[in-house]
Symmetry: C2
Subunit: 326 residues, 2 copies
């Protein structure tokens, strides 16, 4: 295949992406990141080719060994002959618009493997982090024929929740001595984890982390209901590869359980959230257009002066959107 030209038409980029040309895939992901006006056209072209990939979320605090674990998982999936896409999302950088590459260097093991596509994405500011760009990037990798899309994100608050809402299976990484007592105590972690991986299991305190997790799981929550999935707990030493086959086994076990109906439910919920996020974004853009037309400025000045309250102003703004819609 000839290299993709910089000025190649979108139709060619789409066609090549579906044939897994990595440069075409990269270009589509960039268009998603840059919120290209062509996104509707791209989404329409990709839609018939999506829904095949298994989507794995991987999250954890800085320092638990996410990149190493991701790299080892990619290696293991490659050994099974699977094509793998990795989206590394860094929500810590709301301003730069560019993800910090940092320890991604480890991922260079896979840089020359045409069966692996790796991409760092910055999560953008106010539109809610992962909420709209990442699902669209996942669609690109799915349509490009990845059997598996791994979304890796730093576990901080909202990003954890977002990655879980995006994934078929969410893996939460912990490590001893990382203040994980506090980490794990957060109710959130129990809500999102399908699989817990206690990495750096050769270090002191790893057993205690496993015990704490088991204790939390015994306390119940959603996992105590009949037929519910009880999160697996797996110990690893990612740097040596120890325990990685157990992680794969847990993922496979969860996939089998999901096939009993939960996968369809999750994907339905995910699609609904995705549609809603795009709708909100579109409506915001329309409000932005109104902003340009000074309606919002005038309303804001009245709110500052105390002549109007923000709820009444919002009602007027929404009425304006209705009027300006095509």
């Amino acid at each position: 295949m000839k290299p993709l030209r910089r000025d190649a038409p979108l139709s060619e980029v789409l066609e090549r992406a579906q044939a897994a040309d990595p440069r075409a895939v990269a270009r589509l992901v960039s268009l998603v990141e840059d919120d290209s006006p062509h996104l509707p056209e791209i989404a329409a072209a990709l839609a018939p080719h999506t829904g095949r990939a298994q989507i794995l979320g991987l999250t954890g605090s800085p320092g638990v060994g996410k990149s190493t674990s991701t790299s080892m998982l990619v290696k293991a999936f490659r050994e099974q002959g699977k094509r793998v896409g990795v989206l590394a999302v860094d929500p810590s950088s709301p301003f730069s618009g560019g993800a910090l590459l940092g320890d991604r260097v480890r991922m260079q093991d896979h840089a020359t493997d045409s069966g692996v596509f790796i991409r760092s994405m910055a999560s953008r500011g106010h539109l809610g982090g992962l909420s709209w760009a990442t699902p669209q990037a996942v669609r690109v990798l799915d349509a490009a024929g990845c059997d598996l899309v791994l979304v890796e994100t730093v576990g901080v608050g909202q990003a954890e929740v977002d990655v879980a809402s995006l994934a078929d299976t969410t893996v939460v990484l912990l490590a001893p001595g990382m203040g994980d007592g506090i980490q794990a105590a957060k109710a959130g972690i129990l809500e999102i984890a399908d699989i817990f991986v206690v990495n750096k299991a050769d270090r002191d305190g790893a057993d205690q982390v496993v015990r704490d997790l088991n204790g939390m799981l015994r306390l119940g929550g959603r996992h105590s209901e009949a037929g519910a999935w009880r999160p697996e707990i797996v110990s690893t030493v990612a740097s040596t590869g120890k325990g990685i086959p157990d992680v794969l086994e847990a993922i496979e076990k969860h996939r089998t359980w999901m096939a009993g109906g939960e996968l369809a439910r999750r994907r339905q919920r995910r699609a609904a959230a995705e549609i809603e996020a795009i709708a909100v974004k579109t409506l915001r853009a329309r409000m932005g257009d109104l902003h340009g037309s000074k309606a919002l400025d005038t309303l804001a000045a009245e709110v500052v002066a105390g002549e109007q309250d923000p709820y009444a102003a919002a009602d007027k703004l929404i009425a304006g959107i209705g009027a300006s819609s095509p």
Copy 2:
């Protein structure tokens, strides 16, 4: 004044809140947190009484001494005879809906002072953290006659940005030995800080943090423009009160500078963002109503099946909103 009855009508709660009855203020903040259907009515009643409070944002990583610093600042403002409201926002708990009180116990110094209102707020999940509830809670405290509203939040990603967009003056706390080299290197901190406070200044490494900050400020950004505010850097030992008067002086200096036009611009921007957030929330709620009517479910199922792409589905959803609006 007689104690506020549990079943007191909203009109009485509003009247008492404006007379600074702490129970009435607390009830209004709860109504805001719970997204009460009465919010438009509350906002309308408060609007004429807002715009007087000075709004201070205070943010920093866990462990830099935020609570102690907040407590000392409250004490200093009280000595100036100012009425102070504190909103402590914890964005680390997306699920619980209840803020972790933890080290807020230090704030109990002020628990019996009727000139101080303290409230912990959990930032909620998917609607974007601080973005809509906190400004409404600030309005309540403003209308209740607080001269100063201090919004304290853990500095993690989006929350930092949100608190800065909310405040007249944003104070970023750092401390030596907290990995602040990495913290400070984040471009975000330069964008939001009006004042840097290097707390625990009696510890090794504090001078280095100050030097690093000065170095970053010399590198420019928005601060190098003519007439721009150059962030003040103040060293404190909050546990002993050392340096707290310098923080107050820096805040006052920034306030004077802001009065030259920037305050009006910030408040205008803030009101616009607030209106927009409420408008988006309203539109989301309308989409939720549609969800109930199965329109979104049907669209989502079509997206899952690859029969429709999410952009086309979002367009249809928006058309539905127009039709369902009053």
